[in-house]
């Protein structure tokens, strides 16, 4: 079998990979002049054909997302805005941080490709508030790129202008949600918006807007250089290409690993992450961040890492943040931890979420402390069910997923902790 290409990690670990000189020596920007001279539609067609889906969590097809943005002749003079989403806040996910640290120029290049396809001339890279150290690194990369005529007016003589800046949030998980992000950029509380209208039509400042995860963008130069078919050669029918998987939890080598979609989970766990520690048994896996329903050990060991398989198992590929739980982990305490996270991060806009997340956290903490009663488990489940589908963003479903899947998977452990 061919070795999978390193589409996203080729420059990881190369000394100085964040500098323009090294990045260029390693091929970044080599094809940019040609790509920026292509028709916008030619770029979009390649991206559609590649089957690329968003790497932020929802897995929405990138080409289709762009297709909702009105073409220049139907914009009535309004600009289009592009936001590269590096709010990376989903527990278990740290790949965007590693990608931006090692290869900021590839993210910039991918951003330019997307901007060209969207005929967009102004881009912001939205970083979560805690990524100040990344902002400095990216600002330096943008400065170098600007000097080299890779960002700014008439890039590489192509006639295409594009300005890129960074923007830093200030601590809010919900700003990773695209409309929460836009509220934040406009200088307000990051409360997700009622949709429709979707950002593609009415986004930042009332203009058509695309919000795209930075890993998604980093795939674009490779797709344009090698072609959609080469990209589709990796992955599965509905999950093309490779992905960055963040592996955390009690494994021997936690880290970020690039694998073709469709790779068996077992290979990620054992081949990449070195397996569990000696004598430990796999308990369960959160496959795509803390908001994705648990897989049991048996499900996980039989699973492949793609949208099709994980959705058939009732979960999601999500952000690719794989949290591994072994038999040293107390699932009751783990759920108490996660419910606290969601209670802390609920924006408070929708009553079922604002109240429900707080209740769930208090009850889960009580149960973990051994002070719960059996009826608490009923209330906990009831709260999670009342939350699903009743909020105006996906946060409600995200907060409910661990509660319902932990209760279902570890019912005996929960029952053993409560008084009758």
């Amino acid at each position: 079998m061919d070795l999978a290409p390193r589409i996203l990690t080729a420059r990881f670990g190369v000394p100085g990979s964040h500098t323009l000189e090294v990045a260029r020596a390693c091929g970044v920007y080599a094809d940019l002049g040609r790509v920026l001279r292509l028709e916008a539609e030619a770029i979009a067609a390649q991206v559609r054909a590649s089957g690329l889906r968003g790497r932020g969590g929802a897995g929405f097809p990138t080409g289709a997302k762009w297709g909702f943005v009105p073409p220049p002749e139907r914009r009535q003079g309004r600009p289009v805005h592009l936001f590269a989403n590096a709010d990376e806040s989903e527990p278990g996910t740290f790949k965007d941080r590693v990608l931006l640290w090692h290869d900021p120029h590839r993210v910039i290049e991918g951003t330019l490709v997307a901007a060209r396809a969207l005929c967009c001339h102004r881009v912001w890279i939205y970083l979560r508030g805690e990524f100040r150290f990344l902002q400095e690194r990216i600002d330096a990369a943008l400065g170098e790129a600007r000097q080299a005529n890779l960002v700014g007016p008439d890039i590489l003589g192509s006639g295409f202008d594009c300005e890129i800046r960074t923007f830093r949030g200030a601590g809010a998980y919900v700003c990773g949600e695209e409309s929460g992000l836009l509220e934040s950029v406009e200088g307000r509380r990051g409360l997700p918006r009622i949709k429709p209208p979707y950002p593609a039509l009415v986004g930042a400042f009332g203009d058509p807007t695309v919000v795209q995860n930075v890993e998604t963008l980093a795939n674009l130069p490779w797709i344009l250089e090698h072609g959609a078919q080469a990209y589709r050669a990796w992955g599965t029918e509905a999950s093309s290409g490779t992905r960055l998987f963040s592996v955390s939890g009690p494994v021997r080598r936690p880290g970020v690993y690039e694998l073709p979609l469709g790779t068996p989970f077992r290979e990620l766990l054992e081949g990449c992450a070195g397996g569990l520690r000696p004598g430990r048994r796999l308990l369960a896996v959160l496959p795509g961040g803390s908001s994705t329903p648990l897989l049991t050990a048996e499900q996980a060991l039989g699973a492949t890492l793609d949208h099709e398989c994980l959705e058939a198992l009732g979960s999601f590929l999500g952000s690719g943040g794989v949290i591994v739980l072994d038999d040293s982990v107390d699932p009751v305490a783990a759920l108490a931890n996660l419910t606290r996270f969601y209670a802390h991060e609920s924006c408070g806009q929708c009553t079922p979420c604002r109240e429900g997340c707080g209740w769930m956290a208090r009850i889960a903490a009580r149960v973990a402390a051994g002070e719960g009663r059996q009826e608490d488990l009923v209330t906990l489940e009831d709260l999670a069910r009342s939350l699903r589908g009743r909020t105006l963003c996906a946060f409600g479903d995200a907060a409910a997923a661990p509660v319902l899947s932990f209760l279902e998977t570890f019912r005996p452990a929960f029952l053993a902790r409560v008084r009758p």
């Binding site: 963040s246 955390s248 880290g255």
Partner: protein, 176 residues
């Protein structure tokens, strides 16, 4: 913006406002500017940001209170944020936090009486593969054992932020 409260901030503020598509979009950058330079966001700062962006005081206060990183009170010289979300908890965050509380003599959320340290327990910092993680004034330190935490505190007490070993942070499968 021309408020005499902040003559030193005015040139940077002008630059931020010039780069904002609408004045309101300068709100977060201006709040960061104030917090970075002054350490916290006072009533005067709030009024200055409101005046600069054409927002009401209440609107700006609402923004400040929404985002967990903005501070309405002074903090210690070194702000230590310890991640406590699941992957870090499994990697030993509770032990690290308890150790820091013990060494500093404060609970999470408090500042030491000498004003040197503020200790905070925070949610996921996106370093899940190298926990437990903490940030010191925004700089990440990963795989922080109690011993490493002691060495870190010693350095900070001497007003010195230790060099972060490159291999500590950014090897992507970590060196093994």
């Amino acid at each position: 913006m021309n408020d005499p409260w902040a003559p030193d901030l005015a040139p940077l503020a002008r630059e931020i406002l010039a780069g904002a598509l609408v004045p309101g979009a300068a709100t977060l950058p201006l709040l960061w500017l104030v917090q970075d330079r002054r350490g916290w966001i006072s009533d005067e700062a709030l009024a200055w940001v409101a005046g600069s962006t054409g927002r009401s005081l209440a609107q700006v206060e609402a923004v400040v209170s929404f985002y967990s990183m903005f501070r309405r009170a002074p903090a210690g010289r070194w702000v230590i944020e310890v991640c406590r979300t699941l992957s870090c908890e499994l990697a030993g965050a509770p032990r690290l936090l308890a150790h820091l509380e013990d060494r500093l003599g404060v609970r999470a959320g408090e500042t030491t009486p000498d004003g040197a340290f503020t200790l905070l327990a925070v949610e996921c910092l996106a370093s899940c593969g190298s926990g437990p993680v903490l940030h010191v004034n925004g700089i990440p330190f990963e795989r922080v054992t109690p011993e490493r935490a002691d060495a870190l505190l010693d350095a900070l007490r001497e007003d010195r932020l230790p060099e972060r070993p490159e291999a500590d942070l950014w090897t992507w499968p970590p060196a093994s």
